[in-house]
């Protein structure tokens, strides 16, 4: 092997690896400490503030509610129902949005027509669809899924489209000189190249799906519908049970953060690392 072929990788990668543990520690410790400080302040204010305990419960009072609601089984059941709806609805949204985005990316006229509508749908709060969905499908799972899909699909479409838009033009030239047909170009070059944008769209699509689901479950209660986390929120409101309401809000937040931390964040990290892109968007070259 020539001396050139033995050239070492740039030193940046090594330096990044050395810095990583401290960065990871900071990024874990900083939010945990912030939460501890906020919870402490909240507890102190709830003790000293001249407000009725049922109108301003502290973290202690809220956590005291947890064993009761866990024992009744309603919280775990509701979380299970909501997660099943969110995951199945999200998968359905991906299956609808992905081919649609590819179609729009390769049909400029169709994109000109539908693109602004899809972006407008992304702006529309999904809760606005709930009454229409109830009129159309009654109090059934179809109502929930309709609202969820209308929330998630536009984000996933726009994510994949922007990923495709950002593909360097020389990749198209490369496909051409390598003799790829359109299908091969899409599969071997376009989709992998658009993956960072696609994952960002999936991430946003999941957030929209989860929010839309909560909005739908909050309003669409009863009928053939099983109790979801959003419905539990409504039950807390009906019973004027503020600790229950806040506990459910925390559970909604917790589930969202867990999915983010254990699903999307690692995928995105691996994707960027594999391509030599650091988190600020620069290249580790």
């Amino acid at each position: 092997m020539s001396a050139l072929a033995q050239q070492a990788s740039p030193p940046t990668a090594k330096a990044d690896k050395l810095r990583l543990p401290k960065t990871s520690l900071d990024s874990v410790l900083a939010p945990i400490l912030t939460v501890i400080v906020l919870l402490s302040l909240w507890q102190i204010v709830s003790w000293v503030a001249p407000i009725r305990a049922d109108l301003f419960p502290g973290p202690g009072a809220i956590m005291a509610k947890l064993p009761e609601i866990l024992a009744s089984g309603s919280l775990l059941g509701a979380v299970g129902t909501s997660l099943f709806r969110a995951l199945s609805g999200f998968i359905l949204a991906v299956l609808i949005a992905t081919p649609l985005a590819l179609l729009l990316a390769h049909r400029p006229l169709l994109r000109k027509g539908l693109g602004p509508l899809i972006s407008a749908m992304q702006v529309l709060p999904s809760i606005a669809w709930v009454p229409a969905a109830i009129i159309l499908f009654g109090l059934s799972n179809a109502t929930i899924y309709m609202v969820l899909l209308l929330g998630a699909v536009p984000s996933i479409i726009n994510g994949l489209l922007s990923g495709i838009d950002l593909i360097p033009p020389q990749y198209r030239a490369l496909s051409q000189v390598l003799g790829a047909d359109k299908r091969q170009h899409i599969w071997h070059v376009e989709l992998p190249a658009a993956l960072p944008g696609y994952v960002a769209g999936l991430r946003q699509g999941w957030a929209f799906a989860w929010r839309s689901l909560m909005a739908a479950e909050l309003i669409a209660v009863g009928g053939s519908l099983s109790l979801g986390v959003g419905s539990l929120l409504q039950r807390g409101r009906d019973l004027a049970d503020l600790p229950l309401v806040i506990l459910v809000i925390l559970v909604i937040l917790f589930v969202g953060v867990l999915i983010e931390l254990f699903c999307f964040a690692p995928v995105e990290r691996k994707l960027l690392r594999d391509r030599g892109i650091n988190r600020t968007g620069g290249k580790n070259v």
Binding site: A5, A173, L174, V177, L178, P192, D274, N284
Partner: protein
Amino acid sequence: MGVDLHEVSLSYPGTDLVIDSLTAQIDDGEFVAVLGASGCGKSSLLNMIAGLLQPTSGWIEVPHDGAAFMFQDANLLPWLSAADNISLALKLGGHPADLRDARVAQLLNLVQLRHAGNKKPHELSGGMRQRVALARSLAQDRQVLLMDEPFAALDAITRDMLHEELHNLWQQTGKTIIFVTHNVREAIRLSERILVLSSHPGRILETRRISAQLRNDPAQSAALADELTTILRKEQRKHERTGAAG
């Protein structure tokens, strides 16, 4: 079969001519350098030969299986390892799956990267990336190889080594190589014939044969380099004046 260019012209919509009635014949197995100042249309010429651009008029004849292309920046797909980048070219070229790995290993060996197959492009140096790009263009297994200033961004030592390797590869494979460059010494060192393009629009201004004797004689090659540099400077000044006037 080599490459025939007959009265080839190119203009982009709303612009003046980029290439004007260019006629040239590149023989089978010949190494031709296309030399020109920046912006003279030499990359556009290469893109037309590769089929990436269509000439406005004239015609280009290339072998029926087309031409392999090596880009100025390596243009490797960053999510694939060096070996997978080469393997993709084989796959798209219709090579059977069971023969690909052996061919990839052979090509990596040829460009002296046999231990770097698993590395991603960002883990390779600029010179190594260009070697992978060279291996990928060889994987296309076409008689004609088009190279668009492939070593322009490399440091002098790396470029020097790659010149030597490319020259050896050309002698081993007997490929027809069209090598676009603005580097006069690179053109003299590598090619058998130099086509000097004029600036704006691109036409063939000079054709020079480079004999082995000239290439190996420092005094003669330096004299030719000076002469060609003077021509290019004149063209560049003309181009700048035209641009300023325009």
